[in-house]
Symmetry: D2
Subunit: 391 residues, 4 copies
């Protein structure tokens, strides 16, 4: 219990690279702008070595550090474990944490295989019965424009969903001499563009429509088979070393899909879309209107209302910074936009609220498993002449 | 031979609805802005009845009229037959005209089946040996921004093609009470969104890349199975009558594809994209850059040059109205944009140039057949669980 | 009287350069797409020499030609004189034509001085009493998106006008070696950017708001004092010759203004806005909403409705191609945009309608005079330390 | 001296409303993402009462609190005073702090009059001789896209500046029943839109061009003379109470200006631009190119290079998130945009760097005075029939 009477929630974070920095900023910032029902404490961060973990703790604002995730999970003062490591480690850490009675926030993709993801979802279900909660970090759900899109679709503003058009376009592999990082290694990353970024748009499409993908026809492609080995593998900004190695994941993925509500969908994920830096695009056309979003202009949602007079109907460019917009009452005046990391702060806010109330947060591990099943179906279809695969 | 010494070219047009109006404007306008090597004469238009044809002739500026296309083809003073009727009539008219020694301009899609299209392409090849030319009307090729895109791709400005992203989005069927027109009748139209508008983006993708589609995985959908019968079927603006009938074509189509140069492609065509009126979108990502186009802003081409410094690289919004841009030296000063119908005028200019020189024009009937084969492969794949079909 | 019973209207055009080409296309096209109440005949065009006039007539589709405007005005078969010459000739030709009983369409600016413009407006008033009509060619009024903006403002959709923000930005003089054309010669052109292009946005602002400019504070600037003499002065595309001469007009103009309804306005006109080709921008903010337009995307109007819920309010991007939009029922299906020259066709349609009904068309010569007075007030203010000048 | 050997810098902040929240986030965040040469400590915050100050301290992350700014300035452990109060208090606090040997960061506008601003600039100059530094908070300078614009202009990429087009458009007073806050009270705020938001675009224009405004012609307007009294005056989100009071500041301002390099400029600031939420727009046209920025899309800069081939020239949409862009190496991967508050973090980084090196930071109080002089000249000109006023 804290000085102001709110219960305390001790956080332990595993991993402190790109995602660790983003999560730390969220844990630091959320209590400054939102009235959290629990007093969050940034208790400790775990890394690969005691030294790197302590450097990270100092840098990122954690009270302590641990040389291994197991030590972190074992701490009594850690109530929630925040997993920011590559996908091949998620299952082991998350299941151990849940079994130890710790709430878990796990970065996406939930795991590198459906089998692992299933174990995790089962572990989460079991934990839930003991009041222990689990959430997977599909953070883009918490961009205010995406939340607004969901709200409008839920309210029926666009009617029955006919089309989903979802793309995640990056270009950081366009250069054929860009080095091999762990993200290009199937053993570590599970898959390439499909799982790393395609997973995001799969989740967004299901979240905003409130529907499930029921089947897919997929295509994968690796444009550049071999790349320079990376000297160091620090996130996206690795430096090329000597020697070359094979790219074992997809550079790009595309698939057709059907939605549970009768609509059809087209998905694309690539790191080869020259000029597109982080273009997460989602357009949904319904029987009464449409919504459209592009993360390159993240504070904006476009809404088309087909019920308006034809003479004045048009896509509205909604600047999603009004006090009535999701999360925005806690930030700045209208027109003062948010950035990438704010979605992580919103994730913390929602998660802490869930822990305080005991209501299971979304997206659940089962939602993460659902995405994993879509990824697997796409891979199977792609390997089998794009033949349709149910999900 | 005309007064100014240029040889005369007598034009006969079949059909005088939407496409007939557009073609007529082109035949009227081309000689006013371009130095045509032949003196074109708008000799006669053929319709279903003598009366309707004469009314159309007066309205659209043709010197005479004929009650049937056969009479038109038989006229000695008609050197070129311009076919603006629905797809189910193309083969018969075009083959007859070619055999009669008339050059032919045939609206797209070339035919309603691969079999018909093959006969037409064969007829065109045979005619070519006699110096008789044939062209299919994929008019959007002649939007200046598309021509510029082709020129840039051909010059290697974007390098090897990695991605093609092509969409043709309309919304005029979103309203479920919008009536049945001939475009929703498989017998007349051959297919729905796929053949009517998808054909355009297939042609554009192949034209701008200079590559062929080698295989596809397709999906078709008819969202609204039954509609009010149309009282009259005047183009897109039909009025609902009494009774209802079945929609026998696709409302929307989507397919994955591979390009002959190693790139991958995603295509979509629909009449259900609420708020998108005529959004022909083409984005091509290459190893050195990208081009992007949207017909809703038709005088603009976006170009990304990946060879530029990262700090100042960005998609350039090229306003395609400079004298050095394709066709533009013949129009207005920079910044004074063109409209939809100008592409038809450019089509006439290029066709007349081809007739004058005897160099076969593009797109040829064989190009039209290539598109037809893609359409057929998409339909077959869609009917067979999206299984991959070579083209 | 024509064959179909409609009265005949013989048109005589003076001048056949850039504006002559645009007007000719309009006279040729209007009867093909609109049901004109009169049968227009392109009777004759007048130029500086018999030869140049005849070449123009053949090229542009006029039945005959005259070596001087006086001969044209004298012809019995000319009922309407269309003046497409530089501004220093307008007054003489227009007044003579009106006195000869000919309806007049006169290109903008109405004249090169308030004195001349006043004479012309008086002549037009006198002619009106004899049933002879006069119109000045502020053609951009007839871009459909501008007409729609006017309609919405008139209906009260944006409430009381608070702000007008009007810019006409070009860049064709950015290059300091671009040659002297007649447009840079005060004796011929009257003024520079101010009168040539600023006049357009002054008229648009007054037209769309339905208000008058009541006073101004102005600033003029000539950035490049001397330029190469032009070898020939063919419109905007002159070629540099030898020698240099002084630029005697403004390169750029800017002014503050007050509107009769209580709003304030900012105007800018320049030929030095590098990268802006023909950016006619008009934004009007009212107490209940806003409209915004940019000619570089001429088929679009942006509308903001402040009465909407704050959460879903946003500028609507209206694609102004619906059948219910001004003039559009006569053109193509939704989404098939128009180009620059279509506004000239609409001008012809409206003018012929006015002649048929006898209702004086807008903009009248008095509207043209009103613009001229604003231009003069800006020049006087600029010459007097930007001190406020009533209009 | 801190544990890691860096010297300590104790920060004291005065005021804890909107600006106080933004500054606090910056002080908290800067050391997490940047390697600051000093160890900053958020020592204390001062408010109007001991209680409100302590609540703010707890909320915003300050170690302590003071009931008055005088107590804060008197503390030995405060090395830098960060002033976040309304403009009428700036001079007294800043001068006292400087005289007490504290570095000062003062929110804009520097003061409510030229007289006060002059005293402050003099105090800053005197302090500088003692190694005490002062900076004024024109934060928008530190938006990366603005820094990039400055860099490009400085490098000569757009040549000689011809035009500056600067607007700051908001709409929060469009509603006539929006209540009176201190920002509408001349005694507190000094001026209205002109000083509050116009000051920002004046500073941006001078910063990005590297030039000074040498003279102006101004116009001010108050559209709504009387408003409901505010029940509470909490920043922008005040609630209306009973009774009405007069608006004593301008609702909107516009002025013409000349730049020291020979270019001309048009400025506009308003809170009545319905639909524009925080549209800070800056376009600069030069002899070799242009840059354009709109804060509603704050991670983007548009660049036009007139030296490029006319056929491929166009405004480049630069997504300013590359590692080579100003400040960006410290944030996220390309395409992951920043938000409003990041500019405050950059301000802290630059200020701390200046304190560590002793190099006076920009914008200086003298820069703030320069802006104040422009504001005064605009007011004088507006009061005198817009007559030109030198600055």
């Amino acid at each position: 219990m804290s000085a102001d009477g709110r219960p305390r929630l001790g956080i332990g974070m595993v991993g402190h690279s790109f995602m660790g920095a983003a999560h730390s900023q969220a844990w630091r910032t959320a209590p400054r702008f939102f009235d959290l029902p629990l007093e969050t404490e940034m208790t400790a961060v775990a890394g690969r070595t005691a030294e790197s973990a302590q450097v990270a703790a100092d840098r990122l604002g954690w009270l302590g550090s641990e040389a291994s995730w197991k030590d972190l999970v074992a701490r009594d003062d850690v109530d929630l474990v925040d997993i920011c490591t590559p996908g091949d480690t998620h299952a082991e850490i998350a299941i151990a944490a849940l079994e130890a009675g710790k709430h878990v926030l796990c970065e996406k993709p939930l795991a590198n295989s459906v089998a692992e993801a299933t174990q995790m979802a089962d572990a989460a279900d079991a934990a839930a019965e003991r009041g222990v909660l689990a959430m997977v970090g599909f953070t883009y759900r918490r961009v205010p424009a995406i939340q607004l899109a969901r709200r409008l679709v839920e309210e029926g503003r666009i009617g029955t969903v006919r089309h989903v058009r979802a793309q995640y376009l990056q270009d950081w592999l366009t250069d054929e001499e860009s080095p091999l990082t762990w993200r290009l290694d199937k053993a570590r990353a599970g898959s390439g563009a499909l799982g790393d970024i395609g997973a995001h748009v799969i989740d967004l499409a299901q979240f905003v429509t409130g529907e499930q993908i029921t089947g897919v026809s997929g295509m994968l492609e690796t444009f550049v088979a071999e790349r320079p080995l990376a000297e160091s593998s620090a996130g996206l900004s690795a430096v090329a070393g000597s020697g070359r190695g094979p790219v074992t994941v997809d550079d790009a993925a595309a698939f057709l899909a059907r939605m549970s509500g009768g609509g059809i969908a087209v998905f694309e994920a690539t790191r080869f879309a020259a000029g597109r830096k982080n273009a997460i695009r989602l357009e949904i056309n319904g029987s009464r209107g449409s919504v459209a979003f592009d993360f390159e202009d993240m504070n904006v949602l476009h809404l088309y209302d087909a019920d308006e007079d034809a003479e004045t109907a048009g896509f509205r460019r909604i600047v999603v910074t009004e006090p009535g917009h999701p999360y925005l009452a806690h930030w700045w005046p209208a027109g003062h936009g948010l950035g990438y990391e704010h979605a992580f702060t919103h994730q913390v806010v929602d998660l802490v609220g869930a822990v305080a109330t005991g209501v299971p947060p979304a997206p659940s591990f089962r939602d993460g498993l659902a995405v994993q099943k879509v990824l697997a179906a796409v891979e199977e279809s792609a390997a089998d002449g794009s033949t349709w695969r149910g999900v």
